[in-house]
Structures are given as C-alpha cells and as structure tokens.
C-alpha cells in the first residue's frame, strides 16, 4: 500500500512521518507513543481522543492524518514543561478531578483552549466545553471546579 509523507508539529517539535492514506490522526499519534490520546468511542461522541489542532479542540478519531499537513498539534504530553505541570493539571489534582483518568487528557486540552480564548471563563462556558467529554466517574463537578479555579486565579493576577 502506498504511503504518504506527513509534516506536522507535535507539542512544539517538527515531525516527518510516513502515513497510510486512510489513516486517522488518533491511530497515527498512538502509533508514535502519544498514549495520552485515548481510544474511546471512535465516532466523535466521547471526546477521549481530543487533541488541539492549531489551537482548537478536535476529535482525533475523526481527522484523517493527511489533513494535518503543516498543522500544529498539542496532546496532553505537551502540557507539562519537564517537571512543571500546567496550572490546569495542578488544579485537576488539587481539586480531586481525576478518578480513572480516561477522560482527563481530553478535558485538560479543551479547558486549555477555552482559557486561551476566554481567560475569565464562566461556569456556563466551562460546562458547555465539558459537554464534549464523557466522564463516568466524576459527575463533572470537580473538573469544572478545577477549571474555574484556574480561570479565577488568572482574574486575581490582573
């Protein structure tokens, strides 16, 4: 089967990968060890496979790898800087927002994108974003709390 060459930036690093023409972004990323991108429903309903593509949250199970040519992808692996966790990751831990953890990477990335476009996001905005992430453990309360805590910290810093 013919393969294609794909150039894409992942977590700030330029990559050049061989891909199959019909390959999905989810499979491509996991193939290269980005296991934080979870295989959930594989039909764009659960959000476990969420990554940021050019800053926007997308379900990687519904993106063909070939479509991200020259794009920039952020996975959860790219959120921490060495040992320093992203404030959202810290908040999720501090607020008890992680139980089984399967939805967590997706939620973190969606929350990161939300706070980037709306630094003082309201509870309503956070909840709306969380609607794209199925979570069977937490009941959403703690994850929303954690995101709002980071949002209000940003408010406090002004």
């Amino acid at each position: 089967m013919k393969t294609m060459q794909l150039r894409v930036k992942v977590n700030g690093e330029p990559m050049e990968w061989s891909i199959a023409p019909g390959e999905l972004l989810l499979d491509l990323l996991r193939r290269h060890g980005y296991y934080g991108v979870k295989r959930g429903c594989e039909e764009g309903e659960c959000g476990a496979c969420t990554v940021l593509l050019d800053g926007k949250p997308v379900n990687s199970c519904l993106v063909f790898a070939a479509q991200v040519e020259c794009g920039e992808i952020l996975t959860v692996e790219g959120m921490a800087r060495g040992d320093r966790l992203d404030p959202l990751q810290e908040a999720f831990l501090d607020h008890g927002a992680v139980q089984c953890g399967f939805c967590t990477s997706g939620m973190l990335l969606s929350a990161k994108a939300l706070l980037e476009r709306s630094p003082h996001a309201t509870a309503e905005e956070v909840t709306e974003v969380m609607a794209g992430h199925y979570c069977r453990c937490t009941g959403y309360l703690k994850p929303v709390e954690a995101v709002l805590a980071v949002a209000s910290k940003k408010r406090g810093k002004r």
Binding site: G44, P57, V58, N59, L62, F64, A131
Partner: protein, 288 residues
C-alpha cells in the same frame, strides 16, 4: 474503510477536485470535516478527496444577502459577526447546537447539507431563510433552492460538488423575529425534532410573513406551508399560534426509530413550532 483507502488528495481548486472525483469512478469520496465520512466508514471508498484547501471557506456579503463557502465550519458560522446579526443570529445559534465543540470545529456547512441526514439542524434554519446552494460539476455551476438540492440528492447525486450556500436578504425591520428550537435526548445529541421559525409583523401586529421549518420529521427538512398560509395576514395571538401548531402537527411526516416514535415526534413538532414562534413574537415586540 481506512485500510482500503489507496490515495488521499488535497486539491487546491474545485476543478481539480471534480476531475479527481470523475476519475475515481464511484470509488472516490469527497471529505472536508470528516465528521460524517469517518463515522460512516464506507467500505467501497478507495480514494478520498479533501476539499478543505480548495478555497471554499468564507463568509461574505453578496448582493443584499450572504454567501457561505461549503467548507466553512459550524464553529466559524457560530462565531462570525455577520452570522450573529443576520436574521437575529439564527444561523449562528443553530450552528452552535450542531454537536460538541470538537465536532463543530471540523464539521462543515456543505458537508452537513450534502450528507443529507433528515435530522440535521442547519438545513432547517437555512430552509426557513429560503437559502440556495450552488453546485459545481465539470460542465459548470448551477444555483438552486436548497429544497431542490435535497430532492435531487435523494434521487441519486452524481458527480456534483456543493460549493456554496446563499442566503438572500431576509425580511427585516424592528418587528421581526427568528428562532431555532431543538429537542434531543442529551445536550449534544442528534435532533429528535428541530424547528426554525421567522416572523415579520406589520404595524398593526398582523403577520406580514412567516416561515416555519422542521427537521427530523420528513426525509429532509421541510417547510410547514399550510401553517404558514394559515397565519399570514392574521393578528398574532395565542389562538393563532395554537392553530398553527395543529397545522404543523398535521403536516409533518415523522417516522418511528430508535430515538422516538412517530407520535412523539408529531407532538414535539407542535410544541417546538409554537415555542419557536413564541420566541419570534417576543423578538418582534409582540406581547402574546
């Protein structure tokens, strides 16, 4: 599907996309946001033609109305200043209800129409706005009412590409209202029933023009023409809304499926049409 795909193209022009589609001889499929294509996993597809680089992502004024390129995403429609003012923001509000943010960041206006789900939301609102679509083939381009495109699609589409949606200038003025209502099992689910309405009142509070469209109650989004005729020229009050609701319930042709029975959809049609009209009335400054 995915293992069997032999080639993935990203043509830079519509013409190139059409040539690829033609040479694919039925084994080629157009893809944009992929939110339907990647779920459907059609086993006969060998060639994918990604049209998101073909210059079809735009929202702009044209004539007295607007045109939206086929690969414009739902999120872009939701956020565009022009879409938030056109018809009191009807399209922006409707696009915001098309699934999760992750899906809205990818799903396209053209894909949503071309995919032809009877339960789609945007076509309902577009139908209420008398939208047109422009379709391109190797022989040229043609513009047609959305309803005509939907009917043609059901009778076998052929090698045509939907390239643009046109929205003519809607009835305007202070006494207008536009609303969209959706009922689903959850916040982001497929519509069990959806409805779009537009209302324009004259100075005496009578209905000057009205549009009522419904989705998920027929093979494609439909206009409730009997209800519209019934309302036109009459003073807007609760009694008229009830009459219109009854007419809508009579006109719809819902089916029973996994999500709901036909009877429930019929009842919902009445309720959502009335709620949409009430919302319009409020915007139009009418106290019911």
């Amino acid at each position: 599907m995915f293992d069997q795909v032999e080639a993935f193209h990203r043509p830079g022009t519509v013409r190139e996309a059409l040539r690829l589609l033609e040479s694919g001889k039925g084994r080629a499929r157009i893809v944009a946001g992929a939110t339907d294509v990647a779920v459907q996993r059609d086993q006969s597809t060998r060639i994918l033609i990604d049209i998101t680089c073909a210059g079809l992502s735009y929202i702009r004024r044209e004539g007295g109305g607007w045109v939206v390129g086929a690969t414009t995403t739902m999120a872009e429609v939701e956020q565009a200043a022009g879409m938030r003012t056109l018809a009191n923001g009807l399209l922006a509000r409707t696009a915001a209800m098309c699934g999760s943010l992750q899906n809205r960041n990818r799903a396209t206006v053209g894909g949503n129409i071309a995919n032809g789900s009877p339960a789609a939301e945007l076509p309902t609102a577009l139908l209420a706005l008398d939208a047109t679509v422009e379709v391109a083939t190797l022989k040229g381009r043609r513009t047609m009412p959305l309803a005509e495109y939907q009917a043609a699609r059901r009778n076998g589409g052929g090698r045509a590409l939907l390239v643009e949606v046109g929205i003519p200038r809607p009835p305007g003025g202070a006494r207008t209202g536009w609303a969209f209502q959706k009922f689903g099992r959850t916040a982001l689910d497929i519509s069990v029933v959806n409805a779009a309405a537009g209302l324009q009142l004259d100075a005496k509070g009578r209905v000057k023009s009205v549009r009522i469209a419904l989705g998920a109650v027929a093979p494609a989004a439909m206009r409730a023409q009997a209800a519209e005729v019934l309302m036109t020229g009459r003073p807007l009050d609760r009694a008229l809304l009830a009459e219109a609701g009854d007419a809508v319930a009579e006109e719809v042709r819902p089916i029973t499926d996994v999500r709901a029975t036909a009877g429930f959809r019929r009842d919902l049609s009445r309720v959502l049409a009335m709620r949409a009209l009430e919302e319009c009335a409020l915007q139009a400054g009418c106290r019911l």
